[in-house]
């Protein structure tokens, strides 16, 4: 299942409707959807924020096979930004020192089973997988 979404935070409503439809059609339990939506939101909004000069929509594709969900996001951008590189967030830091910079990608890396990044021919492609059930 594949669709394209405008480069805007306002697209999140349509994105979540898209993932909901996929989960219903594929008969995937709702419990798995929270992590998938979170990872998609963090990666999508990252593309919106850090490729602000990008043109055209962002591609999102979902595929279920062998008890595993594979999610692919693709965006045209000149400068690579490898979201799979380890993010250091000190979750034990004192409250006063806590900030949210980098927290989104940190959460994605902690909550999905695999996360890969590729940049070729001016297109960034992010693929993550999540075991279902």
């Amino acid at each position: 299942m594949h669709s394209r979404f405008a480069r805007s935070f306002e697209s999140l409503r349509d994105i979540f409707a898209f993932t909901e439809r996929f989960f219903v059609e594929q008969e995937i339990p709702e419990d798995d959807r929270h992590v998938v939506d979170l990872a998609v939101e963090e990666l999508f909004t990252n593309m919106v924020k850090y490729n602000a000069d990008g043109e055209g929509p962002i591609d999102l594709a979902l595929e279920k096979a062998d008890g595993r969900l594979t999610v692919r996001l693709s965006d045209r951008e000149e400068r690579p930004f490898d979201v799979s590189l380890p993010r250091e967030v000190d979750i034990e830091a004192p409250f006063e020192a806590r900030a949210c910079g980098g927290l989104g990608l940190y959460l994605v890396q902690a909550m999905v089973d695999s996360l890969d990044y590729d940049h070729a021919d001016g297109v960034s492609t992010i693929v993550f997988t999540r075991k279902l059930g």
Binding site: F16, L38, E41, C100, L103
Partner: protein, 100 residues
């Protein structure tokens, strides 16, 4: 869907999806709360890092006033996000009652 408003006894009620698309609305509401205290999360379905950032900013303000946020009726998957992010150390969190 996203809603934020006052409930009974001045409790702040957050419902729906606290994501990046609703961050500005949520922050504006919370910034206008004089002394933020209890937040009822019974109908909060989803939270992302954008939502965590809003709660962190509100918590810092509340603690600077000598108070602090208490999040009540927090569902299991939202508690997971707090745990992964270490935010379970920052807020007082009361789980939602177990359901059959």
């Amino acid at each position: 869907m996203f809603e934020i408003d006052y409930g009974e006894d001045g409790v702040i009620v957050i419902a729906g999806r606290l994501d990046a698309a609703h961050a500005v609305e949520a922050q504006a509401f919370l910034d206008a709360v004089p002394s933020p205290g209890t937040v009822d999360c019974t109908r909060l379905e989803y939270i992302s890092s954008a939502g965590l950032g809003i709660l962190l900013r509100t918590q810092k303000r509340a603690m600077s006033q000598g108070g602090g946020l208490t999040l009540v009726n927090v569902s299991g998957h939202i508690r997971d996000v707090f745990r992964y992010s270490g935010f379970d150390r920052i807020f007082r969190i009361e789980p939602a009652p177990a359901t059959d």
